[in-house]
Symmetry: D2
Subunit: 264 residues, 4 copies
Amino acid sequence: MRSMASSGPTKGIAAIVGVGPKLGRSIARKFAHEGYTVAILARDLGRLSRFADEIAREEKAQVFAIRIDCSDTKSIKEAFEGVLSLGFVEVLVYNAYQQVSWHPTNFTDIRLDSFEKSLAVSSTGAFHCAQQVLPGMVERGKGTILFTGCSASLNGIAGFSELCCGKFALRALSQCLAKEFQPMGVHVAHVIIDGVVGPPRGPSGSRRTSFGEQHQQSLGGGGELMDPDSLAQTYWHLHAQDRSAWTQEIDLHPSTSAHHRILY
Amino acid sequence: MRSMASSGPTKGIAAIVGVGPKLGRSIARKFAHEGYTVAILARDLGRLSRFADEIAREEKAQVFAIRIDCSDTKSIKEAFEGVLSLGFVEVLVYNAYQQVSWHPTNFTDIRLDSFEKSLAVSSTGAFHCAQQVLPGMVERGKGTILFTGCSASLNGIAGFSELCCGKFALRALSQCLAKEFQPMGVHVAHVIIDGVVGPPRGPSGSRRTSFGEQHQQSLGGGGELMDPDSLAQTYWHLHAQDRSAWTQEIDLHPSTSAHHRILY
Amino acid sequence: MRSMASSGPTKGIAAIVGVGPKLGRSIARKFAHEGYTVAILARDLGRLSRFADEIAREEKAQVFAIRIDCSDTKSIKEAFEGVLSLGFVEVLVYNAYQQVSWHPTNFTDIRLDSFEKSLAVSSTGAFHCAQQVLPGMVERGKGTILFTGCSASLNGIAGFSELCCGKFALRALSQCLAKEFQPMGVHVAHVIIDGVVGPPRGPSGSRRTSFGEQHQQSLGGGGELMDPDSLAQTYWHLHAQDRSAWTQEIDLHPSTSAHHRILY
Amino acid sequence: MRSMASSGPTKGIAAIVGVGPKLGRSIARKFAHEGYTVAILARDLGRLSRFADEIAREEKAQVFAIRIDCSDTKSIKEAFEGVLSLGFVEVLVYNAYQQVSWHPTNFTDIRLDSFEKSLAVSSTGAFHCAQQVLPGMVERGKGTILFTGCSASLNGIAGFSELCCGKFALRALSQCLAKEFQPMGVHVAHVIIDGVVGPPRGPSGSRRTSFGEQHQQSLGGGGELMDPDSLAQTYWHLHAQDRSAWTQEIDLHPSTSAHHRILY
């Protein structure tokens, strides 16, 4: 764990599980920007530490990098002991999934262990992470858990059963937890990202500051990629929703996708 | 039409159709607060004018009250001639529906004209309003259309076929328009309000200004009612989304509903 | 009405609304084959009468052709006075919809009266037909109502808002009626035909009689078209389901559609 | 394996995985009745053998009882070596799931190994069984795979995340396989049983023989239980569907459930 001198956080911790250079990093940065102490978790601790340094410097925030392997229950347990030692986890974002090929795989060629691992990362890992943070959230009567889904969460896709089964199961978990824990003050939501996330659109370190600026940006040729900083705005909005008006499921897709799947 | 002295709006108009004392008024106020010139439309022009005065005064904004009967195509056409004379319609919120009894009606007791009127207001009216504003949005390559749904948009309910048929059709319209117009820069979204909206929670004229304040409010006994000002925050967020990360459908429900229907 | 000498039916009438040369005719023939007296209803009485003659002759059944215009409530009322004069309506199949172009129409080019007519035929007509037969079904504690949907019942399609709005509304109606009337012994189901129906595959007048025969038929080049006689088998199965195991919604699509939309 | 003298089956084998005294047994009996050689698989070989004897005797059919533990990949592999030694598997019905308590369990009390086992039985087991039979089905260009779901396949339920996650994943598997294998002639469908299955309604050994008889039976006080023999009729119908008109998903529920969840 990358440790930093810290006065005790009063807002609680935002723990982001599954942090790569795109969505996870942008979400971490957004919560850091809003004043949260952030724990970012992924398998590659070297890269993760660079992200933590970068966000900490740019946002003048406390950011902790903690190694996690979401297919390994022991690793999850240890990682969250680290997270919880930092303070109360107020926000959990679960973003991890087992990378699959962009090309469909013949069903009969999928290895059983590969199928099992995808389920383990997409759903059992999420189950286990949620178990680590929910008792504290229930005790305080507040908290937010955001799960990241994709189009494979809603419809089976030929050649992608590994991904689809794990993502369907994750959606089930999100719905079960929402029903059980919302009356106790814990907001649980499922975010369906229906498109390909690209690198952040702004120069590194720059964040758009106003709504007007956003609308002036031309999408140009990169229009098909989703801007992770823009996605992170919606993660933040979900967290910021008043408890009389909570979202349980939301989709996000790029405007330029003429044939995107409208949900459901 | 209630006319006000006005320098030409540069942001475009936000037109809110179906404005009563709860959701419509809160959405209008939010867009006024963010600097938009707002046109509010409903059948009761007297009440509408009082809302317009109140919002204009409190938000130092231009607010126009325009009578509309969404079951009457001539009325829609005339109302939007008024709206479009104010400037470019950048935002359309369609909120109108035919009031139904809170109690289920035996199917065989539903009058045909009542069924037809419900379809007319929920879906034909929305179709017609969208046709008034889309050409301008397409021409400028920008615009936002938000349709308000409810739990009857997603599942049939015994005794409520009038409401359900109209709301299902409205959802279809939203999906069709999203697919056709998003590539042209127009954001179309469907907001499913799965709960009972109460009066604004704050004292009249006060708006919460920070996220922290919201979370400090105890829901108390009124917890089952949804705060329209909080709902309006999400309407605004949808409008403010960057076009690389647009939502097509989102649900909203109160946290205290233990048995609320998780969507889909 | 085409009248035939008839001893009083004991099974009740099967009324098929929206009968053209494909699905409607096949469903009518199947119910006739199973011993029902059948009333077939459509706008073109000449063609309808030829179908009635053909089915009556081939199936040794009573078949009545009755003109109906499903966009006209007076026509519906009169047509069902005719149907009900034949006996108790035990089965209603609602198959009517307003023909639309196979090509998408720009939304802003859709005429309001065309949109209204599509809603009238797809949903108001269904509402009105259901009202004619439900009191009798409730009184006897039995009956079956089957509504025909399509892929436009489930997802908006760019350029097809007329069709989608009407078909979404029809699905809502089906769900509302199922919830209200199933406890009273009336089976209501929605059949989603997700493909293009072709002409019956067998030679006119021949019906496959065994399951084995079906499986021996090679689909050949016409594989993308759905066989209406095969579809009719499922309509019949739904009617024949025991009331402890009723279906509310079912999809049907051709096997050869590699990219067909798997539902939901 | 319980072995019987047998002339080589020409129709192929129907393999029913997850056979208890209700649904599985009724499905096995129905396929035996229609002339299939049936392999029934479950963990309790003693009980299974009694079912096999009973069905073989009553239906004059060949029925083989084979032990399987669907949470154990080695057991699945061995069991299907047995099944495949009997002949070509033309039909696979996957019915197995990990029994859960009828009462909700606090999420934080669910043991990780229990969650993992539920996923293993509901989804990994189904994945593995499908892999055993699909190569033969593809080679012959025919076959039917039917997966059994329940209301937990469609909506999260507070206190039932184990069941829901596994059943959502199974539905994903069904959709993925349908999209990949239907163009190759393999029919894959998902049957959602939305109610409580009771014992077969007829006296043991008696099967209703006509549609008329069914409708004359009064449901009486046992009306809330679903008759497994009636459910089996729909499993059979799905198998018998012509390939120009295949179902991918169907729900089944008892008529007497006034508040049953209409799907989707």
